[in-house]
């Protein structure tokens, strides 16, 4: 794509009209203003696409196998370990990293911090896609995915935590679709729709906070059903939901930093100058928010240990693993962030953000898999389970990229809006 942006002055498309005054058709917008041949050429020139092709060639047959012959053929899920990578990584890992939508929605729309506006849409999109693909992971993992609407309409079990998760993720997904729609409407040129959404923006943002608080927390609370199974250091009946909610705050913020870094590096042609110029400062700003959440998180993690009187566990092997997780995944990036913010160093912030993102996934995998059944035996996921997980995650990246290439997320629409 870079190649064409240098040669053709009309791409990338940022307006309804071509330089000569005629309008872009939807097909042209979808092809980024290139001819079909040119589009194909740029697609195959990109080495990432070759990697994706290989992942799809390997993963798709395995995914089909899962739906034809059952979960047992592709996973090591068992009577002792009902949940594997699909939920451990796909649901529990991706949802906290998608908290960015409500975080920046709140910052910009609710607290009126207009300075974060250039990155708001990216955060909203990151939230929407993260949730959407977490639901896709769920569809892979559920025994009977075609019954997904059952908890909503057929047979309600309102006293269950998962019932909250289901309802809140479903409603929040619709809220997020609404929040991302304005950029789609701008791109499409349907301004009525955009105005309708804008008029609801405060309501949407407030419901976003409510729904996020509850289901980020509910994901944590799911593990309070397993008090005898999950290692006590990773489980606190009283504070589990706060742990999950609080870590999702800095997880979501850091995910936006990581994604925006990748965009700056690989997709600079798509960004407008405003986005590129403000990005360093915004990253530092996001990191500032994240550090506050990280400090809170560390404190409440230890409050939980004190509350349940679990200090003795810290001296065991599991305790050392726990301290390792806290140190590497939270304390280290916290120190890096504080240093970087003081020294205005966006590069270090980005590095710290990457650690945080990986750390969140590590924590969720610890909770869902590694420290689950700690007194039984260790489950190692089937390689086919890994292949499907990589496949679904690749579709997430591809969809993400597809939308960023087109919609005014990291650039401002020049045309009427």
């Amino acid at each position: 794509m870079k190649l064409f942006t240098n040669n053709k002055q009309e791409v990338p498309i940022v307006d309804h009209c071509k330089p000569d005054g005629s309008k872009w058709s939807i097909t042209e917008k979808l092809l980024l203003g290139l001819s079909f041949q040119d589009y194909k050429k740029q697609f195959f020139r990109n080495p990432f696409n070759w990697a994706f092709i290989i992942i799809f060639l390997i993963g798709t047959p395995i995914l089909i196998e899962r739906y034809l012959f059952g979960l047992g053929t592709v996973t090591h899920s068992s009577s002792d370990y009902p949940w594997g990578l699909f939920l451990g990584f796909g649901l529990f890992g991706m949802v906290p990293l998608s908290a960015s939508g409500f975080m920046l929605g709140t910052t910009v729309e609710l607290f009126g911090r207009k300075d974060f506006h250039p990155i708001e849409r990216l955060a909203l999109l990151n939230g929407l896609l993260g949730y959407f693909f977490a639901v896709l992971f769920l569809m892979v993992d559920l025994g009977m995915p075609w019954r997904l609407p059952y908890p909503m309409f057929v047979s309600l079990g309102p006293a269950a935590v998962l019932f909250l998760v289901a309802w809140h993720v479903a409603t929040y997904l619709s809220v997020q679709v609404a929040e991302v729609l304005p950029s789609f409407f701008e791109w499409l040129g349907w301004l009525k729709g955009k105005r309708a959404i804008r008029s609801m923006v405060l309501g949407l943002t407030v419901s976003g906070i409510i729904l996020s608080t509850l289901h980020q927390g509910a994901l944590g609370a799911l593990f309070t059903y397993a008090p005898g199974k999950l290692h006590p250091l990773w489980l606190s009946a009283n504070f589990q939901w706060i742990h999950f909610f609080c870590s999702s705050i800095f997880g979501g913020l850091c995910m936006v930093i990581v994604v925006s870094t990748l965009i700056k590096k690989f997709m600079a042609w798509r960004c407008d100058d405003h986005f590129l110029e403000t990005l360093d400062n915004l990253s530092l700003g996001l990191a500032k928010g994240a550090t506050l959440a990280m400090i809170t998180y560390i404190v409440i993690k230890f409050v939980a240990i004190a509350h349940d009187k679990e200090w003795a566990y810290l001296l065991t092997g599991w305790g050392q693993y726990y301290l390792l997780e806290i140190t590497v995944a939270v304390v280290l990036p916290l120190i890096l962030c504080v240093w970087a913010i003081r020294n205005d160093n966006a590069t270090v912030v980005r590095f710290a953000a990457l650690i945080v993102v990986l750390g969140i996934i590590w924590n969720r995998l610890n909770t869902a898999l590694i420290c689950y059944n700690w007194h039984l035996y260790q489950e190692i996921p089937h390689w086919k389970e890994v292949a499907i997980t990589v496949l679904v995650y690749s579709s997430y990246i591809i969809t993400y990229r597809f939308i960023l290439y087109r919609l005014p997320i990291v650039y401002e629409w020049k045309g009427e809006k």
């Binding site: 979960l71 053929t73 009577s79 002792d80 607290f111 025994g143 006293a159 269950a160």
Partner: protein, 315 residues
Amino acid sequence: MKNKIINRRNFIKGGLGGAVVASQLKGKESQAAGAFDHYPDSMGVLVDVTRCVGCRSCEAACNQEQGLPEPEKPFNDYSVFDEVHPHGGHGREERRTTEYNYTIVNKYNVPGVDHPLFRKIQCNHCLEPACLTSCFVNAYSKTPEGAVVYDPTVCVGCRTCMIACPFYVPTFKYGSAFKPRIMKCVFCHETRLKEGRPPACVEICPQEALTFGKRTDLLEMAKSRIRSNPDKYVDHIYGEKEAGGTAWLYLSPVEFDKVGFDVHVPHEPVINFVRDFLSIVPMVLLIWPALFTGFHLLSNRKDAKSQHDEDNQEV
């Protein structure tokens, strides 16, 4: 679009939006923290580990009663007791219930006891079942007779019940793509318990190691057995308090962890650990909208002030 300022109309919209969400969801969650009433006349089974000789006839009877597939090794083959790794190298070492056998008996060689001890495993039919309280489609029910039964027609296959069960009882048909379901002991509810008859495993037991009766009576019986033979039994009835109480109760001649029981199972229903979270749900739903709309008003006070006159004219 002009600066986003709060005027009266927007405020009401925002507040209403939140309130609507709150009122819609509140109804569904408000019963969440309620307590589950126990059925006073529910039935149970007392398992006396001292009496079990490991004949496996309960396994055979269960297999026949529930129409489960024929096992690889016949039920009179006692080599299964010494099998290790029945799950293909990545499972637990001990035999456990599976989708093919709702109940199994395991052998334990306990130091200091001159003969092996046997312990039967099946669903314990809790008084406040964790599977039931964790299920988001109400697939489980506790019948007045005491059985915890499962309805495969509404199950979505999320397997949270398997996470929640403190005894690792529910198993899942992972091998089926189109009709997977949870498989577990149902206390022979449909075929026997409903008519007041004991489950198949109890009826067949030649050693009277299993006694069927009202749970309250069984507790008395267990206590009197301990009282009259204090040397024979440890002074504990497993299942009296474990997981808030179970329909199946156990007596053992040795400490329970030596015959494979999980002695760390909490002595209260699993749902008690979840209540903390469930109780904050209505609070968040009701307080957050007002709180955050309030924050919005505060943080945009300057903008709002400059628009004040304009607003007044509108009204």
